[in-house]
Structure formats: C-alpha cells, structure tokens
C-alpha cells in the first residue's frame, strides 16, 4: 500500500494560524480521499513557518469498482421513454436486461463505474483543498488568481510504495507538483529531492528544519529551562507564547540575556507584558528575590559568534521598550502622588464607555452609578460602604494611565499598584483588579468584601445600561459580553453566599438611568431613594426626588417618574429572567435537574439567588431519597384530587379545615400529623433548613395514604366535603413551602 506525502511550501505563515491549518489540511485531504473511495491507515500533519505537511500511510492504490443498478421503463414502453433511459445511462438497448417486475416486464440497466487510481483522486482532492482552504485571511500575489495565506511557492506531492516514488501530477496556477523542497532559509539554502516521509523528515533535519512543532516547543522549553536552571533561575511558564514562538522558527536557538538594572524595579507584570507582547520573550525569574531578572529569546538560526550579535540586538531593543515602560510607570506614579487616583481618573469624563449608550455612556457617569450601587451592596457582603464607594471611584482610574494606554491588558493590575502608591488601603487597591473578575467561567471569583461589592455593582450596571437601550445578546452574538457579565453576577453571589434581592438593585439602577435619560443636566439620584419612592405615587415620588436635588436641577416631574418606571418594569423582569437563564446553565452544569430548578424558581424571592440555590440543592438531593419519593407521592395524591375538585367547583379551597368536622380516626390523625409537621417546618423554614422542613413534609405520606384509603373526600355532606378539600389545601400549602412541587417530575 502506498504512502502519500504532501508539502505546501510558502512564504511565512502567521504563527497563530498554523495549528488550525494543520488540522484543516488533514481533515480536508483525508475526507476527500475517503469520499472518493480510498482508505488509509494513518495520517499526520505538521507545520513550520514556511510549510504545511501531511503524511498519509497505508493508502489504497485505487478506489473499488462500483456497480449500480437502475430501473428503467417497462419493456413495452414507447420508444421515446426507452431512448431517454438509454441516454441517461449511456448504454445501448442490447445492454439492458428485461426482468419481471410487479408491473410486468421491465428494463434494468447495470452501470459499472471502474475504480480510479489513487494519483488521479489525490490530484483532485489536493486541488480542491488548496482552492477552498479555510484560512482566516488569504491573499493573491503576483499576476495570479490563486489564494493562499501568503504566496505559495511549491507543492511537493509524492506517492511511495515498494516499487519506488512517483510524483502525483498536478499544476495549479503555474505551480507544478514536485518531489523537492527547501531547508532552512539561511542555514541550508537550495532545493533537494525526497523519496518518502522518513527521508523528508531526515533531510529536513539535516537542513536545519525541525518539522514537528511539538518537538520545537519541547526543545525550546528544555533549552530555556536548562539555561535558567544553570544560573539558579526559573522560566515563567507561558504555554501560549511557547506555541507562538515555535511557530516563528524552523530551527530554534534559545538565548538568555539580562534585563538592565534600571528596569528591575518595574512591576513584574509590566516586564512580562512588555517582553511578551513586543518582543515575544519569556520572562526568567529569580526564585530567591521573586523578581524577573532575565529574558529568553528564541532565534531562528545558529551563528559563528554563538548568537552574541543577535542577543546584543535584542537587548538593545528591549532597553528601548523598557525605557518607554519605565517612563510611563514614573509618569503615572507622579500623577498619582500629586493628584491621587481620582486625579488620574479625572479624564474619564471625556471617555465614552460605549457610543450607543448615548448620554449615559461616559465612563465618569458610569463610575458614579457603580459607586452608588457598590455603596448599597456593601453592607450585604460585609464591606464598609465608604470603602466600597472609594474602591468603585478609583477602580477604573488606571484606564487613564499611560501604562494601561500602552498595555490595555494591564488594566486593574496597574490600578492596584497605583492605589498602593497613593496610600490607599489594601482592600481598595485589591478591588482595582478583582472588580473585573470573574472574567470567564474558569476565572476566580473575588472573595474580599470590598472587591465583591464593586465587582457586583460593575456587572449589574453593565447589564442594566444595555438593557435600558435594548442591546441584548441574540443567538451567538454577544458583542458586549453580557452573558459573561450575568454569569459573573451569578458566580459572585453564589461564591460568596451573598444575600441580596437582585430585583431591587436592578430596579433602582434602571429607574435612575431612565430618569437621568429624561432629565437634562447634571444630577445625582440616590438609588436608595429611588427604591424608597417605588411605592409612592408618581407625584410624591417626583417631589421626594426633587427634594434631594439642588434647586437649579429640580426637574423631575411626576410624568417623568411615571414613564421611567413604566419603562423599567418589563426591562427589570426581562433582565432577571436573563440572570435566571445563566443560573440555570450554571446549575445544570452541576447536575441539578431542570424541573427541580423550575420548582424553586416558582417560589417567592427568587431574585435572591443564594436562597434559590439553597432550595434547589436541598430539593435536588431530597428527591433522590426515599423520603423524597414519599413527599412527592403524598403531595401529588392530595394535590391532584384538590386541583380536580377546585376546577370542577371553580373555587379555591383555602379557608382552613376544622378538625371538629373530622369523622374518621385517619382523618383526625392527619390533622394531628399536620400540626406536628408544621411545628417542625416553621422553625426549619425560618432557619432555611430546607432538608429538615422537607423531612417533616415527607412524614406526612403515611397519614395521607391512610386518609385516602379510608376516607371518601367527596362526601355527600357538603360541609364535610368542603372541610376535607380544605384539609387537602392545607397539605398543599404545607408541602410547597420549599419549592413548587407541582413542577417536579416523577
């Protein structure tokens, strides 16, 4: 069985695209071959900056012959019909077969498609692969029309079997397939021929090309860590950078150099970011001092001076880069020392958070809102309101710093440094970075109370702002990462066991924005006040709001309050539902059934996510136990009859049953059991001990069963019937305190 080797040799392929390209090439070619009827034993794809290589072993030499039978018209059909069938099949009349069918004598054609030789199929598949290759960005070059990621120079395509090697013929836009390739651009110029994949890999190695990117990565990491270890240092791991660098070289040569003394005092994140982003250097840390003192760069060649010139050049560029960083750092520190972080933040008034937010969109306005919200949330998470407010005020100040201007990924991190330099307490400084967290489903959730307050306020404000302007995620589109913000809220609340009614926070934040939108001029509305006026009439609400504002900005009319609240209400419901959706996904990932979640969502105070999850976790565990089955069976038996009778009668039985109408001992026992259960349930509910409450509910099954087995609910005596239905209603009320059990399946 022959082996196939394909190499697409081009000018430098962007490092970030190589991984996908390898996978795509393997899939497109192997799928194409298989579809055309060939099979193969194994396939492997490789990439260097200048080549994509695919090796396929154990390929069949040709595709099998295929036979297909087609049914035609009846043997006595008109000539025209038979001629049409002959045209379609390409056969003559005497090649057709006549067979007896249900309808009588019918013509049949047997078509034989001979197998095709592998080279013919390969050429076809390769051409299609190249012409339709899914590069993220592709280009044309010269006068041709072929598209590739960068100019394609040669196509090596050979089939090797026991008899030797043959070139699979194909010419694409003037490029004819060959059995030759090139080695390293500088260290081994010139083309050479190869006979098989093993020969190819070996000759490339001699020509200073390491074909396998995994091998290049391993070599880089090994050499870097060895050199660092020899000096008692450690390379800071950076898997992304390692992959990228391995995609930039064919012959990796690791060189380690020192960072100038003048820059060692820069924060390690700054050194690391500057070196990684600009120079693609690894950071090398001194474990004793914890400082980053050296760097590792990876060159693409060996030199007579063992890399001395290359290292000196790189060092020089680094010095220029770090001089810039140092300049930013010192400038920022000066600003902070003279004007404080709030001085640094002053410019945010001119910065737009998002264009579409219109007049609510300035960063400064946003920060004012976050501050108000953080102050309100603070007591609920155990943070001092003033500290939370201060943290909110300065948490985004570093967006105006020179350093973050240069390195946006250092937002928050720099804020922390600058806040400490300004003498702010740790709790405030830590919030600068932590308030952006969690950044994704796997990112840590902040736990420091001040950070939690600001992080929650920041995310809630983001959500309410976009809900106010109806910019919600649709399908796969979520340009403002609102799902991430909502999941962040969920994880912050649950991760810290925060007890907060989110509806209130959302409501006051939205109404405040909607009033602000309607009233010209600068004013600050207290969120607490807005929440406080929610139950007032619109006129009184407007008056109360105006009373907190300065005379010249008292512009809130009752009409404004009314229209703002009317607009806010459906949006609040919608946003809460969005948060619940995120919560459902989060809980489903933890193995909680959707019906269990729905049963708990149906309970009051479902905007307190911590309470909601407490219910869900308790119920989820409980339904798996025998007691859980008892509870559900007992409840459902009572509820089914009650619901049916209520429907029939068109009334709701909730007047309270009276034990004095109890006739049978079982009926009396049920009354006693309910009294007993409720005596346990009430304190358990108060303590939110849902398992205990449900345990007491479950104990009702036996008396409920005994009741149904002996008592006819629909008594002829109307009074007794009503009393029994009211008794069932009491069971329903008792058993649905933790969750709406009607929604639980089973």
């Amino acid at each position: 069985m022959p082996d196939l080797l394909i190499e697409l040799f081009s000018e430098e392929i962007p490092a970030r695209m190589q991984f996908r390209a390898r996978e795509d090439m393997k899939k497109l070619v192997t799928d194409g071959l298989v579809t055309a009827g060939l099979t193969y034993a194994s396939a492997g794809a490789f990439s260097t900056p200048r080549r994509l290589t695919l090796t396929i072993e154990g390929l069949t030499a040709e595709s099998p012959t295929q036979r297909e039978e087609r049914k035609g018209p009846k043997a006595d059909a008109p000539d025209a019909a038979i001629e049409g069938f002959l045209r379609a099949t390409g056969l003559t009349r005497d090649q057709l077969e006549v067979r007896e069918d249900k309808k009588g004598a019918t013509l049949f054609a047997t078509l034989t498609r001979p197998g095709r030789k592998a080279p013919e199929i390969i050429a076809e598949v390769l051409e299609a692969t190249i012409r339709t290759f899914p590069w993220p960005k592709s280009m044309r070059w010269g006068a041709g029309s072929l598209r590739w990621v960068r100019p394609l120079h040669s196509i090596l395509c050979i089939l090797t079997d026991d008899h030797g090697t043959e070139i699979v013929p194909l010419t694409l836009d003037g490029i004819a397939t060959t059995n030759t390739t090139e080695g390293h651009r500088f260290m081994a110029p010139g083309r050479f021929a190869v006979t098989s994949f093993d020969d190819y890999a070996a000759k490339l190695k001699r020509a200073f090309v390491v074909l396998d990117s995994a091998e290049r990565e391993a070599q880089i990491w090994h050499d870097a860590t060895t050199q660092a270890f020899a000096q008692g240092l450690e390379v800071v791991p950076d898997a992304g950078l390692l992959t990228e660098v391995a995609g930039l070289v064919e012959h990796p040569v690791v060189l380690m150099g020192a960072i100038g003394e003048a820059f060692l005092a820069l924060p390690p994140e700054v050194l690391q970011t500057s070196m990684r982003e600009h120079q693609k250097f690894f950071s090398v840390k001194n474990p004793k001092t914890g400082r980053i003192e050296k760097f590792v760069t990876v060159a693409n060649r060996e030199t007579a001076d063992h890399g001395a010139t290359i290292l000196a050049g790189n060092q020089k560029v680094l010095t220029a880069r770090l001089s810039d960083a140092k300049f930013f750092w010192e400038n920022d520190l000066r600003t902070v020392k003279s004007d404080g972080l709030e001085g640094m933040a002053a410019g945010l008034a001119q910065v737009t958070f998002h264009n579409k937010l219109g007049k609510l969109g300035s960063q400064a306005d946003r920060i004012a809102r976050i501050e108000a919200l953080a102050r309100e949330i603070a007591p609920l998470v155990g943070a001092a309101p003033d500290l939370a407010a201060e943290a909110a005020r300065i948490a985004k100040a570093d967006l105006q710093s020179a350093m973050v201007g240069e390195f946006p990924e250092l937002q928050g991190t720099m804020g922390g440094y600058y806040a400490r330099a300004a003498g702010l307490p740790d709790a405030v400084a830590n919030a600068c970075k932590a308030h952006y967290q969690p950044l994704g489903p796997s990112d840590d959730v902040p736990t420091e109370p001040v950070s939690v307050a600001v992080a929650l306020a920041d995310k809630i404000d983001t959500l309410t702002s976009f809900w106010v302007i109806d910019e919600k995620p649709t399908g796969s589109k979520d340009p403002f990462a609102l799902r991430r913000a909502a999941l962040g809220v969920v994880r912050l609340v649950l991760g810290n066991g925060v007890r907060v009614g989110l509806y209130g926070a959302i409501y006051s934040s939205m109404v405040s924005q909607l009033i602000t939108k309607r009233v010209a001029g600068k004013h600050e509305l207290s969120l607490k006040l807005i929440r406080g006026v929610a139950d007032l009439g619109f006129k009184e609400a407007a008056e109360t709001l105006n009373s907190t504002m300065q005379a010249e900005s008292r512009k809130v009319s009752s009409e404004i309050v009314e229209s703002a609240i009317r607009e806010a209400l459906p949006k609040c419901e919608d946003l809460l539902a969005f948060l619940h959706d995120r919560l459902k996904v989060h809980l489903r990932d933890q193995g909680i059934r959707h019906d269990v979640i729905d049963a708990c969502l149906a309970m009051p105070n479902n905007d307190d996510l911590t309470l909601l999850v407490k219910r869900a976790e308790a119920l989820s565990g409980f339904v798996k136990t025998d007691d859980g089955t008892n509870l559900l069976q007992g409840f459902k038996r009572a509820n089914n009859i009650l619901t049916a009778e209520e429907k029939k009668d068109g009334v709701e039985y909730s007047y309270g049953a009276d034990p004095k109408f109890a006739e049978t001992p079982e009926e009396k026992t049920l009354f006693t059991a309910l009294d007993k259960a409720e005596a346990t349930i009430a304190p358990a509910m108060k303590a939110e001990d849902f398992p205990a409450a449900m345990g007491a509910m479950a104990a009702l099954r036996a008396p409920i069963d005994a009741f149904f087995n002996t008592v006819q609910v629909n008594s002829d005596n109307a009074v007794i019937r009503r009393n029994r239905l009211n008794l069932l209603s009491r069971i329903r009320a008792t058993c649905t305190q933790v969750a709406d059990l009607t929604k639980v399946e089973g």
């Binding site: 070059w141 500088f186 693409n300 560029v317 220029a320």
Partner: protein, 308 residues
C-alpha cells in the same frame, strides 16, 4: 551568507546604497513627491500606480510627516518629519523576499550573524481604503521594514498584486550604524571636511515644527483648508468633459493631490487635539471617500490600464 558589503558610515550612504541596489534590480528610481504626506505609500507612484494592470517598478525616498509624533527633537527615535524608503513592484515578483534580503545585505546587514524574521503584520490604511497582507521584518527583534502584498487600494481589488517594501530609514540606519540617539547619527561621512549629524540638520526644525504642530497651527484655518481641499477634489473629478478644445482629459492626479492635502490637514488637526474620538472616524471616512473617487478615476486613464 556573509555580507558582501562593508558597513556604511552615514545615513546618506545607506540611502545611496538602497538606491543603487534597487536601481540594479530594475526599479525606476523616482524622487520624493513634492507634497506633505504621512508615509511613502501616499506617493502617487504607490497609491495610484498599484491600481490597474500596467506593470510597474519604482523605488524612492519619501520625506514623511506625522505631526503627532513630534517630540521637540528630544526623543531618541521619534520625529514628526522622517524618511521612508519605498519600493513598489507590480506584479510582485516570486523572489521578492530574496530581493528584499539582498537589500539588507547591500546596506551591511550580515544575515549570517543576524536573526531575520518575517512576523505577521497586516497592513491597513483606513484613509486610503487600502489593505494588504504581509509581515514586519525583524532583525534581532527589531522591526526594520514593512513587507506588504497589496490586496485593495482605494476600494479597488489589486490585480495584479503589488509587492510593497517600506524601510523606516532613521531607525534602520541607527541600527546599522550603532547609534543610540537619532540626532547623533552622522548624516554625511564623519570624515568629511564638514561632518554633519542628523541633529545638525533637523534638531531645530523638529523643535520649530513640534511647537507649530502642537500649539500654534491655526485650527480654524486648517479646518477651512480641509473643506476647501475636499471641495476642490470634487470639482476636479466632476469637471465637464471634453475641455474647451475638445480634449477629454481625466484629472486623477490633480484630484489626488487634494486628497493628500486633506489627509495631511487632518493629521495636523489631530495633533492640535481638536478632533474628538467620534469625529475622527468621520474625518477618516471623508478622506477615504476622496481616495476612492481618485482611484475610480485613475483606473479609467491610460496609466490606470486603459488601452491608449
């Protein structure tokens, strides 16, 4: 391969060597365009000549102005007026990378001692409605050139594709000559009877222009000039044809001059800090609209590929 060239001794020697090298490779050595531009790409020899089907090969030095980059001559490598060396060949030859590496050798960069790398960097000029794919070329970690295959210019697909090389001359020369501050760089041979450094020639002008760019330029006047250039460009492109002598002469180049003017005026206004973030996009869009219309006209001319 060890460099076949000696190390140059001055800024001008590097320029002269590039000129001879590309002349020897068959490029027409053009002179700088006589207008203020932000980069060598704006020269009509690149912007307009990359359009249409006629083959082209040109190389030239282009003085370039970026008012916001002025640092009063104090920054070691930032200047509001600097030089670019620009090569444009259409269609891009298959050995353009090798030709480029030859030019590094010509200016004394020994590729057997240095680490030359082609690192992904896609080029886009929102003001010219142009983009291309290519790399920034690194020499020992320093960017020494931009290498781009033009895909679109002025909204037109490039067919054939031009290969464009841009060398930032000061930075490249500082590297080759081993100079730390641009103002210390020898402009002519240091052994000349009257040796001149880059600073001798440009320190004062950097100071003067920095002040004018940042503090003094009359923004009201610049805004008016912008509007005027825009209007003139439109007028030129919509001038009635034929002219009074009965000749049909499209005027792509004079119109494009106005586009260049508008672009530079925008840069000056930007340096004066009078353009807000939202306005920025609008101004860029207006310049791009001019560039597109000039390109539309150019491709209807003989130089743009229409048979004479």
């Amino acid at each position: 391969m060890a460099s076949t060239s000696t190390t140059p001794r001055s800024f001008q020697e590097i320029i002269l060597r590039l000129q001879s090298y590309w002349a020897a490779k068959g490029c027409a050595i053009l002179q700088p365009y006589d207008m203020e531009v932000g980069a060598g790409t704006f020269h009509p020899a690149t912007t307009l000549r990359s359009l249409g089907t006629r083959p082209w090969a040109a190389a030239y030095v282009q003085p370039s102005r970026r008012p916001t980059d002025g640092r009063y001559g104090e920054n070691p490598n930032r200047l509001q007026h600097y030089y670019q060396y620009q090569v444009l060949i259409k269609p891009s030859p298959p050995d353009l990378q090798a030709l480029y590496l030859g030019s590094l050798d010509a200016i004394g960069i020994d590729t057997s001692l240095h680490d030359i790398r082609f690192v992904e960097d896609d080029w886009e000029s929102p003001t010219l409605g142009a983009w291309g794919l290519g790399w920034e070329v690194w020499c020992d970690g320093m960017e020494v050139s931009q290498f781009t295959y033009f895909q679109q210019v002025g909204g037109h697909d490039c067919h054939p594709v031009s290969g464009e090389l841009t060398y930032g001359l000061e930075r490249l020369a500082m590297y080759v000559l081993g100079v730390g501050h641009v103002m210390d760089m020898p402009f002519n041979d240091p052994d000349s009877p009257i040796p001149l450094t880059y600073g001798d020639i440009f320190r004062q002008t950097e100071q003067e222009y920095s002040r004018w760019n940042f503090d003094q330029a009359d923004t009201a006047m610049l805004l008016q000039h912008f509007v005027d250039a825009e209007a003139e460009c439109d007028r030129i492109l919509t001038a009635p044809q034929p002219d009074k002598a009965g000749r049909t002469i499209l005027m792509a180049h004079p119109a494009y001059d106005q586009c260049i003017k508008a672009s530079h005026l925008f840069n000056l206004l930007d340096a004066r800090g009078v353009i807000s973030v939202t306005e920025r996009q609008a101004y860029i869009g207006r310049v791009r609209a001019l560039a597109k219309r000039c390109a539309d006209t150019f491709v209807q001319t003989e130089a743009g590929g229409v048979a004479a």
